[in-house]
């Protein structure tokens, strides 16, 4: 067997605490409490091990990373290790002083999430009056000279607003706009029938996207995260299991993807007891679906097996109860009917109550 290539990216979920309660949150249904969070020294040790292992990109996420009082110290430590540091924030608590302090840490980039182009519907999806705070956060970032991506998770209730969202991104001074169609795990899966857009909505959105790409070329970079339920082939999830990226949860558990703890059979190791390099090379959770040896038919014999890696293991597990089955999104999967049924239901239902993350 050839030597295992090192990972590129570490997603550090500093905390599960968050002022928002988004109905599509990808955090675990069982959120980690503050008392179990890694402390400053533990995170710095993880970042040091990450840099030694070959990781070059660090994403500081959550929950809301601004709720960590040591955030600036953590960014500073990561920048000293020459990591490219991005902070993923809701913007709640990001006033001018906070933005200036962040800029002094040398943070490379910020991702600011919004829920929609309009305050009322945005606040409805986040379960919190957040929109005005986010506008202020964007202007604080601009004044502090920090570049940022505006990120919006797309679903049935906001996917018709792409033009307004793009206009808002320009207006607020974003350099990039990430239009991330919801991925259905955890809270989003619980709310799937209320969130899945209808086929007609998606068709319109894709048309608008093309127009916006042309209109905004050179002004705003558009990133479109595919709505995988509407695809015929699965996404190459995480660029392949245990191939590119590692996630460390607030309590130190190391995961091949942020939602891998949904696969109940996975034995997760913790950075509290193992080094990151040991975990990358030896953790059974990372080895479980790495490469192609774990595959069964139809993935095993598929010419795309090293392009999409069988799709998403967490999606296969969530929908079929068996993580080694093909991602049901793939139309070669015997389980595709599960996706088609969900899409049909999305077309048929009207407004359904959201279950907010709690």
């Amino acid at each position: 067997m050839s030597e295992l290539a090192p990972p590129w990216v570490l997603l550090a979920e500093l905390t599960h605490r968050c002022p928002l309660h988004c109905a599509y949150c990808s955090n675990s249904l069982k959120l980690t409490g503050r008392d179990l969070e890694l402390d400053t020294a533990e995170w710095v040790r993880v970042f040091t091990q990450a840099a030694e292992l070959g990781i070059v990109q660090l994403q500081l996420s959550g929950g809301e990373p601004l709720l960590r009082e040591d955030l600036d110290a953590l960014i500073g430590a990561a920048r000293e290790l020459e990591l490219f540091v991005q902070v993923l924030t809701s913007g709640i608590g990001l006033d001018r002083r906070r933005a200036e302090a962040l800029a002094r840490t040398g943070v490379d980039w910020i991702q600011l999430s919004i829920q929609s182009a309009a305050a009322s519907s945005g606040d409805r999806i986040a379960g919190f009056k957040a929109h005005a705070h986010k506008r202020d956060a964007a202007s604080a970032l601009v004044e502090a000279g920090l570049g940022f991506t505006l990120n919006v998770v797309l679903h049935r209730r906001n996917i018709d607003e792409l033009e307004a969202i793009a206009e808002l991104a320009l207006d607020w001074g974003a350099q990039r706009l990430e239009l991330a169609n919801a991925q259905y795990y955890n809270w989003a899966l619980a709310n799937r029938s209320a969130l899945l857009p209808r086929a007609s909505q998606l068709q319109r959105a894709e048309r608008v996207l093309e127009e916006l790409r042309e209109e905004l070329a050179g002004k705003l970079e558009l990133v479109w995260v595919l709505p995988d339920y509407y695809e015929r082939r699965p996404k190459p999830c995480m660029g392949g299991w245990g191939r590119v990226s590692m996630t460390v949860a607030p309590d130190g558990r190391a995961l091949p993807c942020p939602v891998a703890d949904t696969i109940e059979s996975l034995a997760l190791d913790s950075v509290r007891t193992r080094t990151l390099s040991w975990i990358w090379e030896h953790s059974p959770a990372f080895a479980a679906y790495r490469g192609i040896d774990w595959m069964r038919s139809p993935c095993r014999d598929c010419p795309r097996r090293e392009i999409d890696f069988g799709g998403c293991r967490c999606q296969a597990f969530a929908l079929t109860g068996d993580a080694v089955r093909a991602d049901p999104v793939c139309d070669l999967s015997p389980d595709r009917v599960l996706i088609d049924d969900a899409l049909a239901a999305a077309g048929a239902t009207s407004d359904i109550r959201l279950v907010y993350r709690h």
Binding site: W8, V56, Q57, E82, F84, Q86, D108, G147, Q175, V223
Partner: protein
């Protein structure tokens, strides 16, 4: 970072007069583990070959394209000037088109 320096001149205005700079939010990094130079940006890692890294290190917004060629010639005195000028021009054109320069 470059370990060597050179001056900035004021050439007559022409196509090589632009002063390229790596776009905001992207930066160069040396990857010791993989023994390669990288261009890092949000959600992107670009592996650079030696000449791409040598050119990009000079794209600081003060040097013109012509200065960059001159700096490279100072560093590699045996290189052919017209070939260096052509490859710098090609590289900046391509990287600029991909949105890496401002």
């Amino acid at each position: 970072m470059t370990g060597w320096s050179c001056s900035v001149s004021d050439p007559p205005p022409d196509a090589t007069d632009r002063r390229p700079r790596i776009r905001a939010g992207a930066r160069l990094s040396h990857d010791e583990r993989r023994e390669t130079d990288l261009l890092l940006a949000p959600e992107v890692v670009v592996r650079l070959n030696g000449s791409a890294a040598a050119i990009l290190r000079l794209c600081d917004g003060t040097r013109t394209q012509r200065d960059i060629v001159k700096c490279l010639l100072d560093r590699f005195p045996d290189a052919d000037e017209s070939r260096i000028a052509a490859s710098v021009s090609d590289f900046l054109e391509r990287f600029g088109r991909e949105g890496w320069l401002q």
